[in-house]
Point group: C2
Chain length 218, copies 2
Amino acid sequence: MSDARSERTRLRRGAARAVYDERMLDVLDAGIVAHVGVSTPEGPIVLPMAYGRDDEHVFLHGAVANALLAHAADADVCVTVTIVDGLVMARTPFHNSMNYRSVVVRGRAEVLAGPEKVAALRIIVDHVVANWDTSRPPTELEIRKTAVLRVPLTEMSGKVRTGGPVDEPDDLAGPHWAGTVPLAAAWAAPAPSPDLPGPIAVPPAIAALEGRPAHDTR
Amino acid sequence: MSDARSERTRLRRGAARAVYDERMLDVLDAGIVAHVGVSTPEGPIVLPMAYGRDDEHVFLHGAVANALLAHAADADVCVTVTIVDGLVMARTPFHNSMNYRSVVVRGRAEVLAGPEKVAALRIIVDHVVANWDTSRPPTELEIRKTAVLRVPLTEMSGKVRTGGPVDEPDDLAGPHWAGTVPLAAAWAAPAPSPDLPGPIAVPPAIAALEGRPAHDTR
């Protein structure tokens, strides 16, 4: 717990870990894309990426030619997942906020190969909706063309804001409205690709998305 | 066009600028939070932040004590805004994708002061819904406690994906389903804060959010 890396996150594995880790894992489960940051000689880059997780790592993937993943390999990265749940409108802009859930994972990204790589790919593919088993399995070539990285969940911090605005006591009796505006995100009906050769049933896991909140913990 | 900085983005100001810039500004207008990346001696950090923009800059703000903003001041940053519009489910995981709109702004963040700072604060506050004029004006102290940075929009790249999956020709006649699952995000009804002293009308701009898509270009 005394190395420099562990100083970088506010919430660390320790006494409160069980509670905090569980909530942070829930946020990772509820998110759809991560924003992945790397440092380059020409400044930081942040790009949105699909991801997945197990109990120990968050996984990222992309084309082997992907420039951000090339920078990330064996380097320090930051993987941030944010879900916006609504606007918090206070009496005064200084106290405006948003309700949100966010997790920040910092660590060294390790390139995966072999069975670990394929297992991680399945986790990423199945993150939002499990369809690995209902789609055509990837070929060796497709797997070779894909880079897969993992980042340990050992340095992870989370922040969750809920509830209404917190205004100055002097403003409470004033004439200004205050409240929240929830953001409701839900999956719409699956739309079949026009190039399907005929009627093919929607896989049950995909069909089950319709009408469901997009950011539940799955 | 020949300096090193301009090499960092694929889409640059030039012949195609009018078209591309317009679409990228639309994405900035449609987003709610930006993911802001900075490089630190201990690795990159990426955090979600509210933002706003005018025709020349993207604006960020936070508490003066905010560690990320302290790193960002007079340093290279990356400001990324992403809107996920849906899942793209292909016949095989290798061709899975998402429909999304994303803009990446890279550049040096400059700390604002004086009237420019206040003007930028108004732009950030009014970004999602214009309520600066219907709330209690910020005090001098509140403005002093807030750090405001701007990043020029000169290095900006954008990516928009729409439509269905693009599968291998050999897979098209196969038995696997393919299609999209749109993500529908809309504002719910404003919820008044329980500490309002009595019935206060919801400001028209906030009331107008109800039922509206959360990611239109406003």
